[in-house]
């Protein structure tokens, strides 16, 4: 959508009947979405205060992220990009671990090596994310082929954005998946903007989903602000993958409410009115309304849940800020399984510099 030409999010075009979340699942999804939103709000302000170095917000994409993650099992493998907070939370990654990663402290499982949001949690089958765009797409296909080789009944899912559909690995990954009939779900969150480039300048195709056709498998468009539509599409894509029917491309149409990252100023390229229009379909608001309509939520309970989410973020932050910084020499570890003689020598060199006070962490 072009700047200034705002349109409401589209209706689900996935076809067939929508598989709805149950009441308990919906409430759990709402909790995860609130937590994702609260984390975003807090972390943007932490970045402004200089307490974390950088942040990539996911606000506006919570239904797409949480809805898709809930359609997976613990055994499935997630290949994320760097904007998948809702997926991580829905898979049960503890908020403390996420905050540790944002801080790059001694408890950060990535050992302070990556920018905030570029995390990985092996225990949750949430693969380590990187900054290059689209590289995880081919990897997800390879892991799916490996799972099939081992006869493991799982699917892999690759998360990426609209911009990634122009990347080499999007083409290569979808092509390989088509050829090898890989049990992979390609989950594209089309948030309308790849930093400053609007969706219609990314490709001449009418939809991103239709690109799947060229690779010989289905592509579906879903309203990514509709939790059930997303959940349903991923359940179906996963069923196809495990049933030997091959891959599916899902285009979840969403909107990035915030900047690309804390280093970005979206006012340079898009109109506030467009943001406002999409916010009418705020996915958090939509689920709240569903819960209220179903009698699962009232204003008082909702206020409690929102505050509980904020309190959880505050508590995790407090814990993360108490953790020691990473040990100075640790950046020389994990280059290889065991240090080469050269790396051992460099470690000794650094240790001497630290000891002599020539350099300080």
């Amino acid at each position: 959508m072009s700047s200034g030409e705002a349109a409401p999010a589209p209706h689900s075009k996935s076809g067939g009947s929508t598989i709805l979340l149950g009441p308990a699942e919906r409430l759990a999804a709402y909790r995860a979405m609130l937590l994702s939103r609260a984390t975003d709000e807090r972390c943007i302000s932490l970045q402004r205060q200089g307490r974390i170095g950088f942040y990539v917000p996911a606000s506006g994409q919570e239904a797409a992220q949480v809805g898709s993650a809930l359609a997976l099992t613990k055994e499935d493998w997630v290949f994320p990009a760097y904007r998948e907070l809702g997926v991580a939370l829905a898979r049960g990654v503890p908020l403390e671990l996420l905050l540790d990663q944002f801080m790059g402290n001694a408890s950060d499982l990535c050992k302070g090596r990556q920018m905030p949001n570029h995390y990985g949690f092996r225990q949750f089958r949430f693969v380590s994310a990187s900054s290059p765009i689209g590289t995880q797409i081919t990897q997800a296909v390879g892991a799916a082929m490996a799972a099939r080789h081992r006869k493991d009944p799982i699917a892999t899912i690759a998360y990426f954005g609209d911009g990634a559909t122009s990347s080499n690995d999007f083409h290569a990954g979808l092509n390989f998946a088509g050829v090898f009939h890989a049990p992979t779900v390609f989950f594209c969150q089309n948030n309308q903007w790849a930093i400053s480039l609007p969706r219609e300048k990314q490709t001449r195709s009418a939809t991103l989903a239709e690109k799947a056709q060229a690779y010989g498998f289905p592509g579906v468009v879903v309203d990514g602000t509709d939790l059930d539509a997303v959940y349903s599409a991923v359940v179906e894509a996963r069923r196809r993958a495990l049933g030997g029917e091959g891959p599916t491309l899902i285009e979840a149409q969403v909107y990035r409410f915030g900047p690309h990252s804390t280093s970005d100023d979206p006012r340079r390229y898009r109109m506030d009115s467009e943001v406002a229009q999409w916010k009418e379909n705020d996915p958090v608001k939509r689920v709240r309304e569903q819960l209220v309509a179903a009698g699962q939520l009232d204003d008082a309970r909702d206020k409690m849940m929102v505050e509980a989410a904020r309190a959880e973020v505050a508590r995790a932050l407090e814990l993360a800020e108490k953790v020691h910084p990473v040990e100075p020499g640790s950046f020389l570890d994990d280059v290889f399984a065991a240090p080469t003689p050269r790396l051992s020598e460099e470690r000794a060199e650094l240790d001497a510099l630290l000891r002599e006070g020539v350099v300080r962490p």
Partner: protein, 325 residues
């Protein structure tokens, strides 16, 4: 022991690795039905089937990206890139992903992929079937870079590569795929990384080479022996990790070093070796370190014999080194 060519030894190594471990699989362009354009993967499809010997679409980033996914999952993929000259579409996957997975995940995600690729000139391959660009990979932390120069090393180092825990660039000097043959042990006999091979012992000068330049410097050493110059020949075998101790002890003994590689000189591996000698063996040197290398041009077609170091150029450089001190 069996007498094999270098490419046959690669083939035997792949068979051996795949027989020994069902997690090992091979993927790449034309590796299945065709057995590889150099026949390195000949016979694998018949023995191991399509699920382990995978003919891929023509996309290097696809090959390496999927291999990475397989490795993350726990398999041991051996990816073939048909010519090193064609690896660049996969450069992002190799440099940004493969080399960094273990590191960036704090050790949570080791990513062990072996990338086999024929490299180097001397086959009338012109710009795009000849290049020797190992330095790109040596410069990227997290990749092991190894180059065999004998059939026994080709098989033994390939078996080590397949069972290593780190990503390995396994570069095969295609010019000597068939021109070099030698005895190769049967079975799973591995050659460790990080250990250079003393090809020939000598006292006057150290000739340091790897890959297809090892036979070239050996020929030069023969010629020099006729002049009464005793040249030591060192085959580095693995560039990362580098056997610095072997390099230093040889040069400390001879006091002279001539480094030979077919890659372009500027920022080539020879520059790093020369710097190491300057840092750690300067006072043992009797003469400046010399390099005999490819030129700082793209790889030429009609005049490749002038571009590539040969025994005469090495002899010439050694004589100048001997005169210098």
């Amino acid at each position: 022991m069996t007498e094999l060519t270098l490419v046959q030894a690669v083939n035997r190594g792949l068979h051996e690795a795949m027989r020994g471990d069902s997690d090992v699989l091979v993927l790449g362009e034309d590796v299945g039905v065709n057995g590889g354009v150099f026949r390195a993967t000949d016979g694998l499809l018949k023995e191991f089937g399509e699920s382990r010997v995978i003919d891929t679409p023509l996309s290097e980033t696809g090959i390496i990206g999927t291999a990475i996914g397989m490795a993350l999952y726990g398999l041991k993929p051996v990816a073939e890139i048909q010519f090193l000259d064609f690896i660049y579409p996969a450069f992002d996957q190799i440099v940004s992903e493969l080399a960094k997975f273990r590191y960036r995940s704090g050790g949570q995600y080791p990513c062990h992929v072996v990338i086999r690729s024929p490299y180097g000139g001397g086959i009338r391959g012109g710009l795009y079937h000849s290049q020797s660009t190992e330095a790109y990979f040596c410069h990227t932390a997290g990749l092991k870079v190894v180059i065999p120069s004998t059939p026994a090393d080709a098989k033994g180092m390939l078996l080590t590569a397949v069972h290593d825990e780190d990503p390995v660039m396994f570069l095969e000097p295609k010019r000597i795929y068939r021109s070099v043959s030698g005895e190769v042990p049967e079975g799973d006999v591995r050659v460790p990384f990080g250990k250079a091979r003393q090809v020939r012992e000598g006292n006057d000068v150290s000739l340091i080479a790897y890959g297809a330049m090892v036979p070239v410097v050996s020929e030069a050493a023969d010629k020099l022996a006729g002049d009464g110059v005793s040249a030591e020949v060192l085959d580095l075998r693995t560039l990362v990790p580098l056997d610095e101790a072997a390099l230093l002890s040889s040069v400390e003994k001879t006091g002279r070093a001539v480094i030979v590689h077919e890659a372009a000189r500027f920022c080539g591996v020879g520059g790093e070796l020369a710097a190491l000698l300057a840092e750690k063996a300067l006072y043992s040197l009797k003469a400046p370190v010399a390099r005999v290398t490819g030129y700082d041009t793209p790889f030429p077609y009609a005049l490749e014999n002038l571009y590539l170091p040969n025994a005469d150029r090495v002899v010439h450089a050694v004589r100048a080194t001997m005169k210098a001190g």
